[in-house]
Structures are given as structure tokens and as C-alpha cells.
């Protein structure tokens, strides 16, 4: 997921219009550009090409909610504050503001956040005061954050209230508080058994496995196995032109993953697009898999020993 916060120089209609342009450019660029640094570089080129100069600071942060892996780049923007055990300023590398006209290069900084950690992004209006060094404003933000409950959904409002008070503000203020939710120890998902759901099932499962600290190769193989079992439910459990529920439940107990894929239908031996390759593929993955078919439906049980060597001779 990509998060971006920015601040255009100036106030009023022109600044609001400029931010609208930047937002549109950002949405287009982010369709293809994965790197935050690349996104900032493209927006900088776009703004530099405009006849009317537009200057803005911006911080782009891409976060994988499953693993907590973050990649961020900054164009003259203030640093992120990460609120884990205690609020800490995350000084990532920063380049010049966007639209400076010097064809700036931006760098990506990588870091990771633990479940329960909040990332706090903000504009300078929150911390800058006339006649005061910026460090003092940042220290005040860290101090105020430390007095707020980090999991509070009202965190952003609490901080703004504490730092800006109720009187008129000297500058506009935007804040974005992002909290990585703790991963549930049990994965539970029930969706209609339709092929169009398979992609979102896999994404949910990847996020959960990331939270369970399963390595990437095992994650790929478990996602493949569950994907094949879920595909079987979509194609074989319910009559053509109708559907029913597909249940997936997973849990990690020490070094064992136990995952159930269950339907409430009756197995139908329809031709499969895989040409019958699904079950043999499952069998070769090295997992312990069992199938239980009854009047109530079919339950496939997958048991994965996370300590086992399953390299299987793959190149």
C-alpha cells in the first residue's frame, strides 16, 4: 500500500489547485512505479515541466501490512515518527523539494515496523513555530505523542489538539497516522466459492503468513497449495451456475501450520482447466494433506512442518 503526504508552498486557491494536479499525477505514476523514490522523481519532472512553478515537499511510503516492510523516500519533507514502544524520529534520506528545477534524484530508505506500531506522517504546520528551531518542534511532537495512547484511532486528533490548540492556526496542518494491526493468531476466511475470489484469498493468506513469520519460499508453497485446494472448491463443489461458501481456517502452533479448506457441497467430477494437474502438484509439495468427503461437504487439511527441508531439488 502506498501512502503519500505532501505540502505545497503557498496558500489559497492556487496552492489547492496545485495539490490537485499533484494528486492526479501521483495516481497515474503509482500505477506502474513501485519505488517511492521513482514516484517522487517522476512528480518532480512533471512539476518542473509546468510553466507556472509549483514547489512542494512530499514523503512517499510503501508498506506491506503483512510483513511490516516499508520503503520510503522524501522530497524535503519532515521525517516520519514511528511509535512502537516509544515515539522515535525515523530520519530517512531526503532530497530537495519537488519542482526545484534541478532534476533531483531521490533515494529509497528501507525499514520495518512491528505489529502494533503507528507511523505518524505530518506537514510542517504541526511542528514549526516562528522564531523556534525545527528540532524543538520535533521534540515537542515526540513528547506529545508519548502521552497519547498509540493504538487510539483518535491519535491524530489528539496530537493536533495538543500541538495547535483551539485558536487560529499559523499554517495549514495535515496528519496521517498509520497503525499496523497485530496479526490474528488464527486465519479465518469465508467467501463465495468463485474463481474471481482466488486472488484476494491468496493476498489475505500471504499477509497472515507474513505475520506468522513464515519464510517467503514456504509462504509461496503454502499459498500455492491453498490456492489449488480453493480452486478445486470453486470448480467442483457446487453445481454449475451456482455457488456456495468456501471456508479457510489456518493456525500456527509452534513450528506447524494447520490449514483447513472446506466447502458445503458435493464433489462433482467436472473437467478441470488444469487437466488434472492440481492434486499431483499438491502431492509433490511435501506437505501432509488429507481429504475428507462427506454429505456435509469436503474438508482438505494441510499440515506444514516449518522445520522440514522441502527444497525438493528445485533449481
Amino acid at each position: 500500500v502506498l501512502f503519500v503526504i505532501g505540502d505545497v508552498a503557498g496558500h489559497g486557491l492556487e496552492a489547492a489547485s496545485a495539490m490537485g494536479q499533484i494528486r492526479t499525477a501521483l495516481r497515474v505514476i503509482a500505477l506502474d512505479e513501485q519505488r517511492p523514490s521513482g514516484t517522487l522523481t517522476m512528480i518532480d519532472r512533471y512539476l518542473t515541466s509546468e510553466q507556472t512553478p509549483i514547489f512542494a515537499t512530499m514523503l512517499a511510503l510503501r508498506c506491506d501490512p503483512g510483513t511490516g516492510a516499508c520503503v520510503a523516500a522524501s522530497a524535503g519533507h519532515l521525517p516520519v515518527v514511528a511509535y512502537g514502544d516509544e515515539p522515535t524520529i525515523n530520519w530517512i534520506a531526503t532530497g530537495p523539494p519537488l519542482g526545484s528545477g534541478i532534476r533531483a534524484k531521490y533515494a529509497d530508505s528501507e525499514f520495518a515496523i512491528e505489529p502494533g506500531t503507528t507511523l505518524f506522517l505530518y506537514t510542517d504546520g504541526l511542528v514549526e513555530r516562528r522564531g523556534e528551531a525545527l528540532d524543538e518542534g520535533l521534540a515537542r511532537l515526540v513528547e506529545v505523542l508519548g502521552t497519547c495512547e498509540r493504538g487510539s484511532e483518535a491519535l491524530a486528533k489528539s496530537v493536533v489538539d495538543a500541538l495547535c490548540g483551539s485558536g487560529p492556526m499559523q499554517d495549514d496542518v495535515a496528519v496521517l497516522a498509520l497503525r499496523r494491526l497485530p496479526i490474528a493468531p488464527v486465519f479465518e476466511l469465508t467467501v463465495p466459492a468463485e474463481p474471481a475470489r482466488l486472488g484476494s484469498i491468496r493476498n489475505s493468506l500471504r499477509r497472515w503468513l507474513g505475520g506468522m513469520e513464515v519464510d517467503m519460499q514456504t509462504t509461496d508453497d503454502v499459498v500455492l497449495a491453498v490456492g489449488e485446494l480453493a480452486t478445486n472448491v470453486c470448480l467442483h463443489a457446487y453445481p454449475t451456475l451456482s455457488t456456495g461458501p468456501l471456508h479457510i481456517v489456518g493456525r500456527r502452533e509452534h513450528d506447524v501450520l494447520a490449514i483447513e479448506v472446506r466447502d458445503e457441497g458435493r464433489w462433482r467430477s467436472e473437467p478441470s482447466p488444469s487437466g488434472g494437474r492440481g492434486l499431483p502438484l499438491l502431492g509433490s509439495l511435501g506437505f501432509d494433506i488429507s481429504l475428507d468427503r462427506s454429505e456435509a461437504g469436503t474438508t482438505a487439511r494441510l499440515r506444514v512442518d516449518l522445520d522440514a527441508d522441502r527444497s525438493g531439488g528445485a533449481r
Binding site: 474463481p195 474471481a196 482466488l198 486472488g199 491468496r202 519460499q217 509461496d220 508453497d221 499459498v223 500455492l224 490456492g227 489449488e228 480452486t231 470453486c234 470448480l235 478441470s272 482447466p273 488444469s274 487437466g275 494437474r277 492440481g278 499431483p280 502438484l281 509433490s284 509439495l285 525438493g312 531439488g313 528445485a314 533449481r315
Partner: protein, 130 residues
Amino acid sequence: MTADRRVDAGLAAVDLRQVDRALVASFTGELDVSNVKVVQSTIISAMDGLPWLLVLDFTDTRYIDSSSVAMVVAFSVEIATKRGHLALIAPAGCQAQRVLHFSGVAGSLDIHDDEESALAATANTPDRLV
């Protein structure tokens, strides 16, 4: 086929390029039963009028499953009957390479680590056979 192009197929996109005599189809995203037929028919259409020299590039493919393997095998069989050549790009460690391996078909396919090597393999197919 007249120009390079990208075809969106739900969870995946297929980039089609003609390089010398070969068609290179590169996949990004995820291939499964929800989109594999669209992908397959897209490639078949793109090959219309071209020699039977096909490169399927899975380097940036996040996910393939048994229905994708079935597509690869179908291309392999069809192209073999036309005496053309199918080359795959699936570098070691990528998800597609593992799936092809675990499916038991890797040994009967021409799998490469990069495009240069895959194209060289198709270039070795004599003209009179295609």
C-alpha cells in the same frame, strides 16, 4: 502482430513483443483459473501469422498454478507438432520455476534464466521448420 502491446487479464498483464522471429510474452501479476484462458487466447491471437517460436517469460510473475502449467504444456504440445520452439524464462528461485519443477514438467521443457538465452534457443530453430 504489428506492435508491442500490453493486454490486461484480470490479476495479470501480458506484454507481447516480437523479437526477431520470436514472440515474447511476459507476464506480470498472477495467473490462475480466473484468467489463464484469456491469457492463452491472447497469445494464440498474437501468434497469428508468425513463426511458431514462442518465449514465455515468468520472471516477474508473482503466482502461477496448475492451470498455468496446463497452458504451458498445451503450448508445448501444439508448437512441437508445428516443429517450432517454445522457450520459457523462469530464473531459479522464482515461484513459477518451483511450480514447473513440482509439476514434473520442467524436465521436458526448455527453461532459461534470462531472455538472451531463451531467444538464442529459438533462433537456433531452422527457418524451414517454421
